[in-house]
């Protein structure tokens, strides 16, 4: 029988994968992909818990996470565009004028 734990573990694994992506990616666009992975991992957990409690709140949360993800993409891409116009690259190693 597949229980909540199975889903949660899956979610945890995906979350970790997303984290790895966020931590290692140097290309901003690809880094954003990884954040999507993390949010999706959370969504799975919500949907699963929602299912096993028979409660819709989790689905609601997942729903809003999707909305947030979409908004973030819009703003994030907007930022990337201005940055790209100025810098010509999305490599975040080049993004270090301010430090110390």
């Amino acid at each position: 029988m597949i229980g909540l734990n199975h889903y949660l573990i899956l979610s945890g694994l995906l979350f970790s994968i997303g984290l790895v992506g966020v931590l290692r990616r140097k290309n901003l666009l690809m880094l954003f992909f990884a954040t999507e992975v993390m949010l999706n991992a959370a969504n799975i957990a919500f949907a699963a818990a929602s299912h096993f409690y028979g409660d819709l709140t989790g689905q609601m949360f997942a729903f809003f996470i999707v909305a947030v993800a979409a908004s973030e993409v819009a703003v994030g891409l907007g930022l990337l565009i201005v940055l790209y116009k100025k810098q010509g690259t999305l490599d975040l190693d080049d993004l270090a004028t301010m430090k110390g």
Binding site: Y7, G12, I17, F32, N40, N43, Q59, A74, V75, I81
Partner: protein, 185 residues
Amino acid sequence: MYEQIAFYLFSVLTVGLFLVTVLSSNILYAMTSLAAGMVLISGLFFLLGADFLGVVQLIVYVGAVMALYAFAMMFFDASKEIKEKNTSSSLVFLLGGLMAVLLVLMFAAPILGENIQASYPPEVGATNPQAVGLVLFTKYLIPFEVAAVMLLVAMIAGIVLAGKKMDESLTTMDDEEVTLQKDKK
């Protein structure tokens, strides 16, 4: 039985696909596998009876978000192989691995509470979208509206940031230049 098979199938596939997403150095592979993983996740949602969420996942993520990324990818001319320097930090994998171990440990526990009353159970006899709609437009009306504002913000932000006006910066221009530019218009 089929639920188990589906779960394990979807799970293994999503994990694999997302691994490709975060590890591949080809942005096209990464994006494609991300999109595919999201489709599979919507499959998990269906499996969990969250039909509406599954659909939203498909439409919003796979449809809208991925399309945006695709456009962005083209805009940034990133379709070619991307060279990332100093990515193979063992620290990253250590952190990711530790995180995974800890989360698995955490989730392996009997996390499902007993005797917990569902606060918002699906309306009896309603389909999942109906039930979702009922909750969304009563209890979660306010977050819903705020989400609308958020999307509006995102839209304005996207427009403003990507707009032509950002090309020249008043911030770095001297006063004379500002007036000059105004006159030009």
